[in-house]
């Protein structure tokens, strides 16, 4: 066995690993595979998945949504637990915990505006994923928390979630609505606020009424939310928190990965490893162009080798852009990733995969 590659090293030095990336790249199975690999290395691991495909969820025992981790038995020296995030229920719990009393919680939980926010629209899932991560991390029960993030069109949403919540709470509309405590008379007065009036003209007064009722009910809880959002941001920026950008060898996902790499350059966050999932395996050290002949088997080899070369060319462009970020290639397996054994195999391949900048892109199959 060769030494660990960039992903193996990351698993060794971090206590939080967050997988980000666009949908359809195998992010959930990558997160689960990294969790299995770390458990095989003897660590106590919990994997947070979001909306796992059903057969994968069955495999890791998270078929039912629940925000409390359940153990996955396996032949590893460490331990492995998994939890499938139910963002709506988690947000409801948070409101219940932070409300002054049951009546305040009830007013918020039954508000239509709140229900719309809590049902996953506008980054709630992202925020609840990092919130749950912080909770699991601070519990001390695990050495490593691996988090899969929601299948967002924008891989950066997970990074921005705490800041967005804070910005939302700091927004002048919110402040205007809650500045001087609650009270129906004041609320009615505040609807004269120009921006609120504009929102009413766009959306109808009913929507504004719901929003005002929500903000009024929320009054007094925002400091706690703000403080927590700051803590979570600090955890995301900690040295022992690692980010893995999962991508696939397709033009659109690589373009998105490139945007993420560029966008992160201006922030205090970084991607530690880019994992290109579902790469066509390499069957030969020869170049596709040298595989000429009419033999049908040789033509198949030439076709798959040419595809692998094109995939590597895409990744080399990405690696050049992400100067200090290693890019590793994970092969497309010959079966679907729907059981723990396959996850373990993918995990072993992942921790050993070398950086493609080191001159070769993984072993010949």
């Amino acid at each position: 066995m060769t030494g660990p590659g960039p992903l193996g090293a990351l698993l060794g030095r971090c206590d939080v690993v967050i997988c980000v990336g666009t949908g359809g790249v195998g992010k959930t199975s990558t997160a689960a595979a990294l969790g299995v690999a770390a458990a095989e290395a003897g660590r106590r691991v919990v994997v947070v998945t979001i909306d796992p495909a059903r057969r994968l969820a069955d495999a890791i025992g998270t078929g039912r949504l629940s925000n409390s981790p359940s153990p996955i038995p396996g032949p590893w020296p460490g331990t492995l637990d998994a939890v499938a995030l139910d963002a709506t229920a988690a947000f409801d719990d948070l409101v219940r915990r932070r409300a002054r009393d049951a009546a305040q919680a009830e007013r918020i939980l039954t508000n239509r505006f709140y229900r719309a926010i809590a049902s996953g629209i506008g980054g709630t899932q992202e925020y609840m994923a990092v919130e749950l991560l912080a909770e699991l991390h601070s519990s001390g029960r695990w050495d490593l928390v691996v988090v899969d993030t929601p299948p967002s069109a924008n891989a950066l949403d997970a990074f921005d979630a705490p800041d967005r919540l804070r910005r939302f709470l700091d927004h002048r509309v919110y402040r205007a609505l809650t500045a001087s405590g609650s009270g129906i008379g004041r609320v009615v007065g505040r609807t004269a606020h120009g921006v609120v009036r504009a929102a009413g003209r766009v959306a109808g007064g009913e929507v504004v009424d719901d929003a005002i009722a929500f903000f009024t009910a929320f009054d007094g809880m925002e400091d706690e939310f703000r403080r927590r959002a700051r803590e979570v941001t600090e955890l995301l920026r900690a040295q022992t928190t690692g980010f893995v950008l999962v991508t696939a060898p397709r033009a659109d996902t690589v373009a998105e990965a490139r945007r993420v790499v560029d966008a992160l350059a201006g922030r205090r966050l970084r991607i530690d490893v880019i994992a290109a999932n579902r790469m066509t395996p390499r069957f030969t050290g020869r170049a596709a162009g040298s595989l000429e002949g009419d033999d049908p088997g040789l033509r198949t080899l030439a076709r798959l080798t040419a595809r692998r070369e094109a995939e590597e060319a895409l990744l080399v462009g990405l690696a050049e852009r992400a100067v200090d970020t290693p890019v590793v290639a994970l092969p497309l397996l010959d079966r679907d990733v729907t059981d723990v054994d396959t996850l373990a195999e993918l995990g072993r391949l992942a921790v050993a995969a070398p950086s493609i900048a080191d001159g070769h892109a993984g072993p010949v199959a």
């Binding site: 666009t22 495909a53 299948p151 120009g194 504009a198 959306a203 009913e206 373009a255 395996p281 798959l304």
Partner: protein, 320 residues
């Protein structure tokens, strides 16, 4: 509306649909609702903006009648919101609203409003006769269902006012199979097949939108002449042992993929009894206008087979 989970190739299929429709003489407007530029390289002629522009004709298109024109535009929520505000005399405030991040707050305060405004703009383009056919590259990821649900959801939540009217008009469009159909895109793989079936039922039952044929993208085998040789079929005695081993591994991998593809196509047929159109996997990794022309040809052949007289033809690409 071309709908699929991330990574199944909805933009590619959108572009291929546009080329296929144009090749049979229908003028097409392609609408990108995310503005990520994913259609630029596929259609050629981008980057596209809010105002529709002509897409250059495909080079090397097959002989036949002159294709109709294709135009393309990008309709994002922010732009649709700006136009909506302007149309309601809020021109002056529109910029302030958006610069101040209020688009974000309205978007949060009225979930789905961005989607509704985008759909409203599409309905307006349809109403204005912008083209014989409008092909929408719907948002990818899990967002497509909430995108199409926006009208119904907001119509329930907001019973009066301009948004309610907009929601009703969009709901009418989505509910009328003669005006609007969803083309689901999937891959012949386990998870995409499961998800396509789930999305199909949600769209039919909860959104009430009609489903057109389902498109299975990136198939290795569509017709008998696509089949690969059996593993180990090498006859060339001149190859060395290393190469022979590589050939065995590659053909076994290829054969395994094709078997799983055939299995998944059967599963798809059982889960989702819809007519289907199979598209070849293109050899390249970065697809361009030439690939789109070839895929449009696959679509035209597939449609002819669906219309064809023999049941066997409709089953092409099934189990070997």
């Amino acid at each position: 509306m071309v709908v699929g989970k991330g990574g199944v190739g909805t933009s590619t299929v959108t572009a291929a649909y546009a080329r296929a429709a144009a090749s049979v003489g229908r003028s097409v407007l392609v609408v990108d609702v995310e503005g990520r530029g994913s259609l630029d390289g596929l259609l050629g002629g981008g980057p596209f903006g809010y105002e529709p522009v002509d897409v250059p004709p495909a080079s090397g298109a097959p002989e036949g009648p002159e294709p109709a024109t294709i135009r393309a535009c990008v309709v994002t929520a922010d732009e649709a919101l700006t136009e909506y505000l302007r149309a309601r005399g809020l021109h002056r405030i529109a910029r302030r609203l958006l610069d101040g991040g209020l688009g974000d707050v309205i978007g949060r305060g009225v979930p789905g409003i961005g989607d509704l405004l985008v759909l409203g703009k599409i309905r307006q383009l349809e109403n204005a006769g912008a083209a014989d056919l409008i092909v929408v590259d719907a948002p990818s990821s899990g967002h497509a269902v909430s995108f199409l649900r926006a009208a119904g959801g907001l119509g329930d939540a907001v019973r009066f006012g301009p948004i309610a009217e907009q929601a009703a008009a969009v709901a009418d469009l989505l509910a009328d199979p003669a005006r609007c159909q969803v083309v689901l895109v999937t891959l012949a793989e386990d998870t995409p097949v499961t998800e396509a079936a789930e999305v199909a039922y949600v769209l039919e039952d909860e959104v009430g939108v009609a489903l057109g044929p389902i498109v299975v993208n990136a198939c290795e085998t569509i017709r008998d002449d696509d089949r690969s040789p059996p593993a180990g079929a090498t006859t060339d005695a001149a190859v060395d042992e290393d190469l022979a081993a590589a050939i065995r591994a590659a053909t076994a991998f290829d054969l395994g993929r094709r078997r799983r593809e055939a299995t998944q196509l059967v599963r798809l047929g059982n889960l989702l009894p819809l007519p289907r159109l199979l598209l070849h996997r293109r050899p390249g990794v970065v697809l361009g206008p030439d690939d789109v022309v070839a895929l449009a040809d696959d679509l035209c052949v597939g449609v002819r087979e669906l219309d064809g007289p023999t049941p066997a033809a409709a089953d092409a690409g099934g189990v070997p």
